[in-house]
């Protein structure tokens, strides 16, 4: 590592020549396709990822609307839906199997194509290379492939909406053998399920290529003086996330390949013998459903952190800029990130407490699961401590950071219950779990994405977003998500089972009114997101022209033009003298901050 940190700068004719050659070789491309479609420019690719995520999140949100409407009013016809799926929604009324399709697609789209692409691949691609002072990613071609492979995966997934008996219905966890045996298990488990597995396999490839780039770029392409200790916290988070992703997706990929083989090639990796579905004895034998669960959750739990850690980084980058105070305990914070990344690989079993696993191992899995809350708590306290006694600037970005902290606390604490096998015995598979993970990985990382958007939009598009719209967007969303997901914890305590298309059991019927409340809240909160869309599209064209450094932040992206030129620094190679945390100091020109590349000797604390 250290040798990579400080490199002798033996500049010389040879070098300058080669650099000239580079410039010639890497001038901005002129053709339309290379500029906007198959671009090698990390900034374009980052925006492409974010646009993909935007499409995906819209789809996923509409799916959740349909689900919520069905749960509240099961017989309600939805006009036009029968056009999309004549089978699933005859006369526009969602059938139970179609509900499960919507649920599976919602989960898959949100987890893979939104929470993984937007905060990690999207912002990471655009910002990370600039923050380390590089002209681009280490492997631009892989970077481009990474995006287009991911886009392909998305198309394959959506295609399953148009196959005869609809998309997969086995949930985003696709538990075998339900996901493996094929059509005898019911509608959605024929071609739809195969497309699901293929799509996820492709997605893994895309993310592996992406992670590879992030790691190589962070390690090798840091500009002079950008020691690891001086990396901005967002880059730290993206770097650790890509390490986690590398391990996680390289395990999910094999799992998907084996699943596909079970489905199409007649192998029996996950399918035991003697299964009788729809009066038909299945031809498989000897497979292990638990094997799928192990492989899936070995990926699945770290995936939760892949979704949330970039949010950590974004918040820790934005909060200091908005509080005009250095982040409290930066080294501790990074230590926590590393600890979480490490622990995230020792806890997957807590998803399988009730899978008939050896009870002893259940206890063994529960310990690290509870321990991982310690670094999480520390980071939360660090944010709160950073806010203490600060000069908080209430921009939309900072509001979403505050919201992030609040919902992360709420969602994180409900994890205490599920981490204990004894309580999980009661709550497992109820809405308590749904409320928990939507808060802690769904809404929290969503708020991280929003904060990042409002913060970096000026850099990405050269125009400011509208703050008034932004604030309305925050306040309504903030209250909205609490109205949606807090009640789910209550439902769970009352034993309301998740993944039900309707609540026909005697003891669940009384809970329907609360579900109606949640549905109304969900429709409202979803509608509120229109403010965000309007703001996005309006500001891209009409927003006020953004200065280089609108937030008076310290990291390198704020030393570039808004938006940055093709090679980010216009041939200049910034030299870093300071960490990203120099806020609330006596800087030059009466500034209260010092930028990372500003030459002045280390500033004095104010």
């Amino acid at each position: 590592m250290s040798d990579a940190v400080v490199r002798p700068d033996l500049d010389g004719a040879a070098h300058r020549d080669r650099h000239a050659a580079d410039a010639a070789h890497h001038g901005p491309p002129t053709g339309f396709w290379r500029r906007h479609v198959f671009s090698l420019d990390h900034k374009v690719i980052g925006r492409q990822y974010l646009d993909l995520a935007l499409v995906a999140v819209t789809t996923g949100m509409i799916l959740s609307w349909l689900m919520r409407i069905h749960l509240a009013w099961p017989a309600q016809a939805i006009p036009g839906l029968d056009k999309l799926s004549p089978n699933g929604a005859a006369n526009g009324v969602i059938s139970p199997e179609y509900y499960l399709s919507l649920m599976t697609m919602h989960g898959t789209i949100m987890v893979f194509f939104v929470l993984t692409t937007a905060p990690f691949a999207g912002f990471g691609n655009f910002i990370l290379p600039i923050q380390v002072g590089a002209e681009d990613m280490a492997f631009p071609r892989f970077n481009m492939m990474s995006f287009w492979v991911t886009a392909l995966a998305f198309v394959v997934l959506l295609a399953s909406f148009f196959v005869a008996d609809g998309p997969a219905i086995s949930g985003w966890t696709a538990y075998a053998p339900l996901s493996a045996v094929g059509k005898d298990a019911g509608p959605g488990l024929a071609l739809g399920q195969t497309l699901w597995a293929v799509s996820i396999a492709i997605f893994c490839v895309g993310q592996l290529l992406g992670s590879l780039n992030f790691i190589a770029t962070t390690l090798d392409l840091r500009t002079k003086g950008m020691t690891l200790a001086r990396l901005p916290y967002s880059t730290w988070a993206w770097f650790i996330t890509s390490v986690i992703g590398l391990i996680a997706f390289s395990v999910l990929l094999p799992a998907c390949i084996l699943l596909i083989l079970d489905r199409v090639a007649g192998t029996s990796f996950f399918i035991p013998g003697g299964l009788v579905l729809s009066d038909r004895l299945q031809p498989h034998s000897g497979g292990s459903p638990i094997l799928w669960q192990h492989l899936f959750w070995f990926f699945g739990h770290p995936e939760v952190y892949i979704a949330i850690l970039p949010g950590f980084g974004i918040v820790s980058t934005i909060l200091p800029a908005m509080t005009r105070k250095p982040l409290l305990g930066p080294r501790v914070f990074i230590g926590c990130l590393v600890a979480i990344g490490f622990l995230s690989y020792m806890v997957w079993g807590h998803h399988m407490f009730l899978s008939g696993m050896n009870p002893l191992s259940a206890t063994l899995f529960s310990v690290p699961t509870l321990i991982i809350t310690i670094p999480a708590t520390v980071t939360t306290l660090l944010w709160i401590g950073t806010i203490y006694g600060s000069r908080l600037r209430f921009t939309t970005a900072s509001l979403f950071c505050l919201g992030f902290v609040s919902v992360f606390v709420s969602g994180g604490l409900s994890g205490f219950f599920l981490a204990q096998p004894s309580i999980d015995t009661y709550l497992h598979g109820t809405y308590f779990v749904v409320g928990h993970f939507h808060f802690v990985m769904g809404v929290a990382s969503m708020f991280g994405i929003f904060a990042g958007t409002y913060f970096w939009f000026p850099k990405m598009y050269g125009r400011m977003m509208n703050e008034t719209l932004g604030r309305w967007h925050f306040w309504l969303s903030f209250v909205g998500v609490y109205c949606i997901f807090m009640p789910m914890h209550w439902l769970g305590l009352a034993g309301n089972v998740r993944r039900y298309a309707a609540f026909t059991d005697d003891y669940m019927k009384p809970m329907v009114p609360l579900h109606r409340f949640i549905t109304v809240a969900a429709l409202f909160t979803g509608a509120v997101q229109l403010l965000f869309f309007i703001n996005l599209f309006w500001s891209r064209r009409r927003g006020a022209i953004a200065p280089e450094n609108p937030w008076e932040a310290t990291s390198l992206e704020w030393t570039t033009a808004s938006p940055p030129v093709h090679d980010n620094f216009g041939g200049r190679h910034p030299v870093v003298h300071h960490g990203p945390n120099e806020y609330g100091v006596a800087g030059a020109l009466g500034r209260d901050y010092v930028m990372q590349d500003s030459p002045e000797s280390l500033p004095v604390r104010a």
Partner: protein, 240 residues
């Protein structure tokens, strides 16, 4: 398709024969085949269906509901046997009126539905619970759709002749059959095991009887003008 054409052609032919014949002497009168279906050996014991899972259905039945895979009548008669013309059919008009198939009290009514190829089947859910209809077809296309309470009837057709088992996964005891046949000359044996196939023009026929557990039997019958030949079928019953 193709069978339809043949059918219509033969119809025309038959019509022609009749008219020309009518000029000379009164034409041939249609005959009918009737008989009874009985069994030998020990019948399997029908079991009581436990509907505890679905109170709304259990409540609809005063007396305990029995399985229907082999139903015996007085003096060894066998019920629900499908008897049909498997060969020699001189033309069946394609049926247009829909066959009604009910899910009532978590049972299929009728247990076996006689359906002609391409004849619409309307499946109703009369219960207060969800059903899923899953015809385990082999030559026809297999499908599996759920039908929540109050949902409109499903309208389906089957393009090929086949005895299709129908099941409901939500209520595993629910089993029935769609007997999809190429002919309109088909019937089922009644409680006394009797059946009769009417309106058969003179000719040589193969009559086939099908039972979901005991298999199929066929007999050659020749029907003269206005004849009413008797044909009896006897199945060998096994307890398990």
């Amino acid at each position: 398709m193709h069978t339809k054409h043949i059918a219509s052609l033969t119809l025309i032919a038959a019509a022609a024969v009749v008219t020309t014949g009518a000029l000379r002497h009164p034409g041939p009168r249609a005959g009918s085949i009737s008989g009874t279906v009985t069994y030998t050996g020990t019948m399997p014991k029908m079991k009581v269906i436990d509907m505890a899972k679905e109170p709304s259905c259990a409540a609809q039945h005063k007396s305990p509901v029995m399985t229907e895979s082999a139903v015996a009548g007085p003096n060894n008669s066998l019920e629900d046997v499908v008897v049909y013309i498997s060969a020699g059919d001189q033309g069946s008009a394609p049926a247009t009126t829909a066959v009604r198939y009910d899910q009532r009290g978590c049972q299929y009514v009728p247990h076996v539905a006689l359906v002609q190829v391409d004849q619409p089947v309307e499946i109703y859910n009369d219960d207060k619970t969800s059903h899923n209809i899953h015809p385990l077809a082999k030559t026809n296309a297999e499908w599996n759709k759920s039908q929540p309470p109050g949902a409109p009837p499903l309208k389906e057709t089957f393009g090929k002749a086949e005895f299709i088992p129908v099941k409901c996964n939500i209520h595993p005891w629910m089993h029935g059959y769609f007997a999809v046949l190429n002919t309109s000359h088909a019937t089922q044996s009644g409680e006394d095991g009797s059946f009769s196939l009417k309106g058969l023009p003179p000719g040589k026929y193969t009559v086939t009887a099908w039972h979901e557990r005991f298999g199929t039997q066929s007999q050659e019958v020749t029907v003269g003008s206005g004849d009413t030949p008797k044909v009896n079928f006897t199945f060998k019953a096994t307890p398990y």
